[in-house]
Symmetry: C2
Subunit: 298 residues, 2 copies
């Protein structure tokens, strides 16, 4: 279940409230796309900005509108008790897994993070995806810590922040992680620009930002890699290079993907929670131009 393309939808806001119509529209679009799973309330889903109640609501809406597509729910929060509340609401909603990032305000130690995962895996029967995202959590997993955590019961997958772009080094990195984790734990790449490299290097899954809004091109990359057509996967990814360039230039994928969803009328204007203002008009024009050039606006 923790393989292939996991699509990370946005959680669109209108006037500081979740836009449920836009959100369920995104989920239904993904359910019909052939994505292997939907992960709601990832970083792209702005999980950390939502209240516990809003998160329970999003979990319910996702499961209700995802059809037969497995649903994973992001449960990270600054305080362990809040994480556990999110885990319970994911269980109640009928999710098939949870995604847990060690959010920080005060820097955490490796033991703090291990104990967090130990506590959560003790208190849920759901499979847990370890979310390693140093750019937003500012916590850096060592390979050794990945090994300690992956040995806990119910750990199902590790979402790694990327791989080196060099194919040899990428394989080495994936093998290094596999060397310290049980065989049943899958490795999923994130960082969309590195997805083809990660899948070609042996990652089992792609935890995908772009897949949540533009599932078709993400599926082309994923299926090519899964079928051993490595060059095709790379070519499909290189075709999207103008998009990856915007991710770099505009400070990450979130603002760009929100602008894409807004441009395609999948989300209302200014759909990100404040204080994140999203892209300015000139940046939005550039995003729209790239989407048109890539034929993704049809």
């Amino acid at each position: 279940m923790f393989t292939g393309l996991s699509a990370f939808p946005l959680t669109p806001f209108t006037a500081d409230a979740i836009d449920e119509r836009a959100f369920t529209g995104l989920i239904e679009r993904l359910a019909g796309s052939g994505a292997d799973s939907i992960t709601a309330l990832g970083s792209t889903g702005c999980y950390s900005y939502l209240t516990t109640e809003e998160r329970a609501r999003v979990a319910r809406l996702t499961v209700r509108h995802a059809g037969r597509t497995p649903v994973f729910i992001g449960v990270g929060a600054l305080r362990t008790s809040q994480v556990l509340a999110n885990v319970r609401s994911a269980e109640v909603a009928g999710a098939q897994g949870v995604l847990l990032a060690p959010m920080t305000y005060q820097p955490l130690t490796a033991d703090d993070v291990f104990e967090l995962f130990r506590t959560v895996t003790e208190q849920t029967s759901l499979p847990v995806i370890v979310y390693d995202n140093p750019r937003t959590t500012h916590f850096t997993f060592t390979t050794e810590l990945h090994g300690r955590i992956a040995a806990l019961p119910r750990i199902a997958s590790i979402k790694i922040p990327g791989v080196p772009s060099d194919p040899e080094q990428a394989r080495g990195r994936v093998q290094e992680i596999r060397g310290v984790i049980p065989e049943h734990v899958t490795v999923g790449v994130s960082g969309d620009a590195l997805a083809a490299a990660g899948l070609n290097a042996g990652c089992d899954a792609w935890y995908s930002v772009i897949g949540g809004t533009l599932p078709e091109p993400a599926l082309r990359i994923t299926r090519a890699a899964q079928e051993g057509r490595r060059a095709d996967a790379v070519a499909e990814s290189e075709h999207l290079a103008p998009l990856w360039a915007l991710f770099s230039e505009f400070g990450g994928s979130l603002r760009v993907v929100a602008a894409i969803a807004e441009h395609l009328d999948l989300a209302p204007h200014r759909s990100l929670p404040l204080p994140i203002q999203g892209l300015n008009d000139e940046q939005r024009r550039r995003v729209a131009e790239v989407i048109r050039e890539l034929g993704l606006d049809g």
Copy 2:
């Protein structure tokens, strides 16, 4: 009002709930200490880990138990609407100022942060302290952004993360900030080990971690610097060097100060919110030893 020693109390927890008896004990201790103000729900007060309701409760308790000492309340949160809710509860409680850090999960732009401060200053009549703490927020203020924000109405003070340890360079840094902000906006140093350097370099205030738990030695440093006894301020700070060394060695001031409060029976055992586990037994023994050597356990 935004000058001298502002003491930052811990918010002690017992079984994942605020320990109100311990907290009000800390506040009453500070009210009787001669500290110039109390800032509850700073980073030391674990503001980011508390719910909106818990924060309203802490604001009320602080004002109720602070006597005549002015109270400032930390209002930072990831989402602007949550910040505004915290501002309102600080107003209702009767606080005399609010402290606002630009918390991040997704990295924020300078414009995001400016708009956050503009929105808050538009919607409150309370003075606002700008909280510049890159270690926990991972947002770095430029001097230019400090100038833009300080020009907003109701900005009263800037809490800077420290100054260079060299006195000449420290003066230069404080002058650089003063050069871009209105005269009525005070500059307060934080980073306890650099407080004497900051005050001697012309900072008006010390936003103090240690002052929230051990106000006496913090007041000795502050009064010496305010009275122009620069060498005395430095000597008082150097006397506490073993404490500053523990801050460095044990990953910051919070865990050490919590261990001190627990050792002095000002807070219950394991008073930090999980997943922050606090110091281990061996580290706690070292903290207790330093406190005894410095004569701070009496």
